[in-house]
């Protein structure tokens, strides 16, 4: 029999869907800023493998020569990004949802088994609560990353006034690199997230909009209360 099983509380759905466009705008405006000094490359043993970003990519997205505009957008939407994230974390703490989200002692070992299962190498996945071990790690990591973007962002934005943050990030130059690396991290997260959402199917996706999943409940077996021999003896 079909039944409704509540899954995602309203606040979590809202913060999720507010974050999505806001983060997209932050990444886009970040690219407008990055273009002005696009010096990051992945170079191993003198060979450059990745240069962020190729010219055709810049042209396609109309990135070039929009530094001032990028900064203006970035410094407006940073408020929404920070406040939305702050609100989400506050909610998970007050509601107790954090217990479902923060990795436990076993999560790191279990996440490996989840990965093997997802890659069809292992038949069974370890038992899970609302989120599996890999999700717990991913969803906690992404919050820490968000916080990291905020800290590294401040370290670049006001390196003199927030000198302690800049120091914490290993200096201005390094803070800027961290800020960039975290953004690449979001993009990778996004790719895996989308693949997983597609694989998980409609029921799961819908629950992030409507809050519930439809589950098939087996009719509850009626168990006769036959006293066991032990209990008998007590009686």
């Amino acid at each position: 029999m079909k039944a409704i099983k509540e899954k995602h509380p309203l606040v979590m759905r809202w913060t999720h869907w507010v974050n999505f466009p806001v983060l997209a705008i932050m990444i886009w405006s970040g690219m407008l800023i990055y273009w002005a000094n696009d010096e990051y490359r992945i170079t191993i043993f003198g060979h450059t493998y990745v240069r962020f970003f190729p010219d055709w990519y810049y042209k396609l997205l109309h990135i070039p020569a929009r530094l001032a505009e990028g900064m203006a957008f970035h410094f407006l939407f940073m408020w929404f990004f920070a406040l939305n994230g702050f609100f989400y974390v506050l909610y998970t703490m007050i509601s107790g949802e954090w217990r479902q989200l923060v990795p436990s002692r076993h999560s790191f070992k279990e996440a490996w088994l989840v990965l093997l299962h997802d890659l069809h190498i292992r038949k069974t996945a370890p038992p899970q609560d609302k989120y599996n071990a890999a999700q717990r790690i991913a969803y906690t990591a992404i919050i820490i990353m968000g916080f990291g973007s905020l800290v590294t962002g401040f370290a670049i934005y006001k390196p003199v006034q927030f000198y302690y943050l800049t120091w914490l990030c290993g200096g201005y130059h390094l803070a800027r690199i961290w800020h960039f690396v975290l953004t690449i991290g979001y993009v990778l997260f996004f790719v895996i997230h989308i693949v997983q959402v597609i694989l998980a199917g409609w029921n799961n996706f819908r629950s992030v909009i409507s809050g519930f999943e439809v589950v098939n409940e087996e009719p509850k077996p009626i168990i006769e209360n036959i006293p066991t021999s032990d209990e008998k003896s007590i009686q």
Binding site: A36, E69, A72, V160, S210, G211
Partner: protein, 265 residues
């Protein structure tokens, strides 16, 4: 029990099935989601297509974005600006030998020293004409710090000159230092900046005439330039011709191109 028999007898209705409940909940959630998505999108289009501000002291930015920039800057300035927050300094040995050259609007080439004097317009209407020799006689201040360009690059460089504070004190500009802004422009008036007084009077702000051990050259603002470590490079005007003081924001080259007026670090 009375309500059971009120005009609408709800109890006679069949309780909705699970299937109906699912459909109803889906309908509500997806409608709200659709409305949210549509309004988020149109909000974005509104902002993206919003008018460019009327050109004035600042120009070139979308109106709402300019408002946000100003408010955000003010928020952080009030929250954090403290003249005791010094810019991190480095050992002299870490300074770049070759200082990066980005732009020389209003300051290209070499200006024969005999044709240059620093003009300082006092509020009394009097204009001081100061030679480089006079400035070099004042106490010298040196700084090795990480110069930061708004484009994103930074470079540790070494500068020497007279601190703006000492300069103001020496030329008896106390009354001027009570105004809110300092304006500076190149002799040809092609590049100009406006600096808020607290940033100008920051102990590390210099009127620099030397980089490393050399006098400034044509690429770096010969004979005198502003080194203001609490601001992005765009505010570090090369080749100062005239200094003015005002309670209104002076003209600023990059603020007219959509950048934040304050551009503080």
């Amino acid at each position: 029990m009375k309500n059971l028999f009120s005009k609408k007898n709800k109890s006679s209705k069949k309780p909705i099935t699970v299937e109906q409940n699912i459909n109803r909940k889906n309908f509500i959630s997806f409608t709200i989601f659709g409305v949210y998505a549509a309004s988020a999108y149109s909000g974005w289009r509104w902002l993206y297509k919003s008018q460019i501000e009327t050109a004035g002291i600042t120009a070139g930015a979308h109106k709402p974005l300019r408002r946000a920039l100003n408010k955000t800057e003010l928020f952080f300035r009030r929250l954090t600006f403290n003249e005791n927050h010094l810019v991190k300094t480095y050992p002299r040995s870490m300074a770049a030998k070759k200082i990066r050259h980005n732009s020389d609007i209003g300051s290209g080439g070499v200006l024969p020293p005999e044709f240059w004097k620093l003009k300082v317009k006092k509020i009394s209407g009097e204009t001081l004409q100061i030679t480089l020799d006079e400035l070099m006689k004042l106490p010298k201040t040196a700084i090795t710090y990480d110069f930061k360009c708004v484009e994103g690059w930074d470079q540790i460089s070494h500068w020497e000159g007279v601190s703006f504070r000492d300069f103001m004190a020496n030329f008896k500009l106390e009354a001027e230092s009570k105004l809110e802004y300092v304006g500076m422009e190149t002799p040809d008036k092609r590049y100009y900046v406006g600096i808020d007084m607290p940033s100008a009077m920051h102990p590390q702000t210099l009127l620099a005439y030397q980089m490393n051990d050399e006098p400034l050259n044509g690429n770096h603002g010969q004979p005198l330039r502003l080194i203001i470590p609490v601001k992005y490079g765009i505010k570090n005007l090369k080749r100062i011709g005239t200094i003015t003081f005002s309670n209104n924001r002076p003209y600023d080259y990059w603020a007219e191109q959509g950048y934040d007026y304050y551009s503080g670090l």
